[in-house]
Symmetry: C2
């Protein structure tokens, strides 16, 4: 049996900054700013203050790493913990399609906290993040679609992705990476059950993934050993948490395929499974000149995972839960033209027109869409009007997908919109952080972004 | 569908100290001293210093809770983390048969750290520990035998047991407990794969279970919400991590059955799956007057879980791995008359006679033994001598099982032996801690056990 875990470990151990194509470096900076936008948008957003409070209570009041929302310093463990919770709560962080992993929200918090504490450069941070993405995405693909039906991949696989990023900053050998993957994999957790109740576990999953991955890497650096075949061993992750795992994916085109460039930026402030249909409805309404009150019914033709994740939400009780309601997202698009943070906050629960529209939306499993998934996320809708007309729309590359990505200027606008939403930054700071992101590859030290005193 | 999660939550919320039968209180004190023995025996034992170092690096240097091995103060999270790792490393902590859960090593660290930080009494601690045991054991039984084939139940279920114990100290309502179980269950992790390599994950599992359970409870106290049906929900623990779960077990005879009194004390310093056969061999050799060099072969007739866990170890490379080698344990019993901490340290890897004996031991699945498991752990061996004779022995209640338990004086001796092994205590401290345990029900404050300054 080929040991693809070892192949992956060899690749990430040997990877150097000079190996990275220019577009990978540049995309990594895009993702950094996009991640900062999400992390800062989470300031004061429930339940993030609970994570800040926990870090204050259990962690040190000083340290080498920075909590972005509260501007407090603490140890890398708690900085990763809070920043990872914060960057996943407004549902605007990036997503990788075929692994169904949100890499930024777990990789950046762990890598940034470590880079700050260890005094590393912008290039070190970029290299670590690329390693985390390349490993994490392949691990998510390895665990397959069955894993995602029960487990929140960003929680489980995120732990390993974070461990790899931190390990790269700690200059791990291939052996070290194998141990760290073992220690991270045996901590991997996160169940979708919370979604049915609109509970707060989604942020707990990312917080724990980033922090526990960091723990695995730091303890490996000190000598902790881990299982050597955490993926394909008889009692490893595939055996316990998947029925269609493919360990061959772990070493898929290492060094020629750059999985980091395949992630999608989120345009709508909702679960990514709603985006393709949202785009399709928006385009259809524009093309046909339809108003929301012309529409009698919308059938969205979706892949099975969309039903698994969104099916749990019938009538949303919280704004966060509304982000997982296909009907609400389409209602916001139809009635208010947009499903951004502001629209969710103002209209998702309160607007009777949105509620009425929600009741007219249904999901149906579609063979074409399901077969394309998870490589492609098609948006396919059928709209019936009150006057009895019927329209179809198929969108193959929803906005934000690699084939239909955001420009730097669009990413800057998104950043400005998100930090304005939470009031996390002054205008001057907003400009500064944008510049820091675009200059990351030149920074001798990553340093502190907001708690400037000891910069 | 009956909601047995709610029944369990109601029971633990309403449970008061006055509800506890005398023998439960007294057994809880037995278990406390037995747990302290294991925790202190872990001092300086690899990989425990790595956990101490991690707590120093990531946690606060001051705090309300005590790390027993290093006598340092820190926050409850890191005290629970280190003490739980330490109390599982010498493989002498208690075990509950039918749930295959080691409750003490996850419940006591979380409860002690919280009781110290919150200034609670001995009775509060006892009540919290009982709640943790009653819930944890039933949850382990609920997840069934299939769970244990891949997952280390003490790591997974231990997270929930710890959360319940801490929640009881934080005076949770039934609703609070349901949320805390949700937040703990969605963090539950721990795979057996590490065993194949003799890696350090077993202690990582208990450390994380105790600390993450504590996290779930403290964050619930602040308002974090969790899944309402973490066990039997469509995307909950049973769906993802078991194929024979029985949610009815969660509420099994609440208030009349005291599961805490059903745990087994460990006599031999090895995996509990080796104990029944070790007892059977020891008794057979005594009864027949056999010497180890009379013996040509030993067949141990075992339950399937013994093969799942011990089968991974063929030739042990570390002392800890040797504790999971049936042949090594029986070799120590046969050649040295005992399989205690001292014998493992001196002979498990070095003694050629033990190695020779190991090669003569095999395991075979046995229907009678397998059917009795996990309620009863039978020891059944067949010994063949060089002179061609054959002997059988069946032990129904191995030493330490509830039907063949340890007296207080035997528990004291075990405590003295274990703390002498690591040199964790002076003689005076040894005496003091024994007295503290027997007086626990009278202590107005649990206080600090070793870092006495601010007692």
């Amino acid at each position: 049996m080929t040991n693809t875990t070892r192949e992956l470990a060899n690749f990430i151990a040997e990877l150097s900054y000079d190996d990275l194509p220019k577009e990978v470096i540049s995309r990594c900076e895009d993702l950094f700013l996009d991640w900062l936008a999400s992390a800062l948008a989470g300031k004061d957003y429930a339940p993030i203050p609970l994570f800040e409070r926990y870090a204050e209570r259990m962690g040190p009041a000083e340290g080498g790493s920075e909590i972005l929302t509260s501007r407090q310093r603490t140890s890398p463990y708690f900085a990763a913990f809070v920043n990872a919770a914060a960057s996943h709560v407004v549902e605007q962080d990036d997503l990788h399609n075929s692994s169904v992993l949100h890499p930024a929200t777990v990789v950046f918090p762990a890598a940034l906290a470590t880079a700050q504490a260890e005094g590393r450069s912008g290039r070190d941070l970029i290299l670590a993040v690329v390693a985390g993405y390349e490993a994490g995405i392949r691990i998510g693909e390895c665990l397959g679609r069955s894993h995602y039906t029960i487990f929140h991949t960003t929680g489980t696989v995120g732990t390993l992705a974070a461990a790899v990023a931190v390990g790269k900053l700690l200059q791990f050998s291939s052996d070290d990476f194998v141990h760290a993957l073992g220690s991270a994999g045996t901590q991997a957790a996160g169940l979708w059950e919370f979604l049915r109740d609109g509970a707060d576990s989604k942020q707990l999953h990312t917080a724990k993934a980033a922090a526990d991955g960091l723990l695995a890497a730091y303890m490996t650096a000190d000598g902790l050993t881990g299982a050597q075949r955490i993926f394909d061993g008889q009692q490893g992750m595939a055996a316990g948490m998947s029925s269609d795992a493919d360990p061959g994916k772990l070493s898929d085109r290492l060094g020629t395929r750059w999985a980091l460039t395949e992630t999608s930026f989120k345009f709508h402030a909702s679960c990514r499974h709603t985006h393709p249909a949202a785009d399709a409805l928006q385009q259809l309404m524009n093309e046909q000149g339809l108003n929301y009150d012309d529409i009698d019914g919308v059938v969205t033709y979706v892949h099975q995972a969309a039903i698994d994740v969104l099916g749990a939400v019938v009538e949303p009780r919280t704004v966060h839960q509304a982000k997982f309601s296909m009907g609400t997202v389409l209602g916001l698009i139809a009635v208010h033209g947009n499903a951004g943070l502001e629209e969710f906050q103002k209209y998702a629960l309160q607007d009777p027109e949105v509620a009425k529209f929600r009741s007219r939306v249904s999901m149906r499993l579609d063979q074409e869409v399901n077969e394309a998934y998870p490589i492609k996320w098609f948006g396919k809708v059928e709209v019936t009007t009150h006057s009895g007309k019927g329209f179809h729309k198929l969108v193959r590359d929803p906005k934000g997908d690699p084939e239909n990505s955001l420009t730097r200027s669009e990413i800057e606008s998104k950043f400005e919109r998100l930090v304005a939403f939470s009031g996390a930054l002054t205008r001057e700071e907003t400009r500064q952080l944008i510049n820091s992101a675009w200059q990351l590859h030149d920074a001798e030290r990553v340093g502190y972004l907001l708690s400037a005193k000891r910069n």
